[in-house]
């Protein structure tokens, strides 16, 4: 134990982390419609150790399901900052990527990753439950390799994110 290097420690903790991911139960948009099938008997994401959880303090994954409007963005930022490290963000569907069909809507933001760091995007409207599960598997791989480090980027580039948040939230 004494001789364990930081790298080894990190590798082991990453391996353990990826096996038990708790997803915050927050339906931010219409993508939440594909979550009940993903959670329940047919697709059953609990197989992979992912369960929905109710409070941000105990959750690991923030799933931003679909379009983010200004009013929701404020809550998403709050919720994201309440979550404890390590935390991961998945952008779900086309709308967080580039606004999707709401490109000309005055209340929907166009790129989620300007406001909070996003580890992974799932494209499609809506992504099928298979795509959701495959993205979770992909996130596990990223965690294992130590590449899902959005929460570190958020700390390092806090001024950048804060500037963007202030610009739209006022």
């Amino acid at each position: 134990m004494d001789k364990m290097t930081e790298e080894q420690y990190r590798a082991i903790s990453n391996m353990l982390r990826k096996r038990s991911l708790w997803m915050l139960h927050y339906c931010t948009g219409c993508g939440a419609m594909e979550l009940p099938p993903t959670m329940t008997s047919r697709y059953d994401m609990e197989r992979f150790g992912i369960v929905p959880y109710v409070t941000p303090r105990q959750a690991d994954i923030l799933l931003v399901t679909g379009y983010v409007n200004i009013k929701t963005l404020r809550r998403i930022v709050t919720v994201y900052e309440q979550m404890l490290d390590p935390k991961y963000v998945i952008g779900f569907g086309s709308c967080p990527i580039n606004g999707g069909v709401y490109w000309d809507s005055y209340s929907v933001i166009k790129q989620l990753d300007k406001y909070i760091p996003v580890d992974l995007y799932i494209a499609g409207c809506m992504p099928r439950p298979e795509a959701v599960i495959s993205s979770f598997r992909h996130l596990m791989d990223l965690i294992d390799k130590g590449q899902a480090n959005g929460y570190r980027r958020y700390k390092e580039n806090y001024e950048y994110y804060e500037k963007n948040q202030r610009k739209v939230l006022g």
């Binding site: 200004i70 000309d104 809507s105 005055y106 209340s107 300007k114 739209v168 006022g170």
Partner: protein
């Protein structure tokens, strides 16, 4: 159906058009609106399905419409009135139709039409920290607002081009 149309025609100041089966449009002037809605309720139009406005910008007016439903006669009646765009004010009808309270809040927020007598009119409802022009007015430029407030994602090609420079 014809019976109820005749009755609606008796409403004070009402110009009635039958659009098709079960759809009656009733145009009244602004000062007779509350009376007309009250008479409609007495005729059995007891459900307010929706109320909102249409921005008739070329006439300089707002058209307020109230979609009512008479479940005994199975007829929808739409009461419409026009108000000036410069002095956009209407009286509340929440005493006649309770659900109007919510729709009137939305009306104030989206069109900037003041609703007199509605205690919540003007309080933020759907939008948060909204400044400037009410968004549902026709002269509100949605795309212009988007371009000045948000940034679009550039494609990968554009980004590499930017880096080369």
């Amino acid at each position: 159906m014809t019976g109820i149309v005749d009755k609606v025609k008796q409403v004070d100041g009402a110009a009635v058009t039958v659009q098709r089966d079960n759809r009656i449009f009733v145009d009244v002037s602004k000062d007779k609106l509350t009376g007309a809605l009250y008479s409609m309720k007495l005729l059995g139009f007891n459900q307010l399905s929706i109320m909102s406005a249409v921005d008739r910008i070329e006439d300089g007016q707002f058209e307020i419409f109230y979609v009512l439903y008479n479940y005994k006669e199975k007829v929808n009646g739409v009461v419409r009135t026009r108000i000036s765009r410069d002095k956009a004010e209407i009286e509340t009808v929440e005493k006649i139709y309770t659900p109007a309270h919510t729709y009137e809040r939305e009306l104030t927020e989206m069109f900037g039409i003041k609703v007199l007598g509605n205690s919540d009119s003007g309080k933020p409802f759907i939008l948060e920290n909204w400044k400037g022009q009410p968004p549902m007015r026709k002269d509100f430029d949605s795309v212009g607002y988007v371009n000045s407030h948000y940034e679009f994602r550039h494609s990968a090609e554009e980004e590499t081009e930017g880096k080369d420079e």
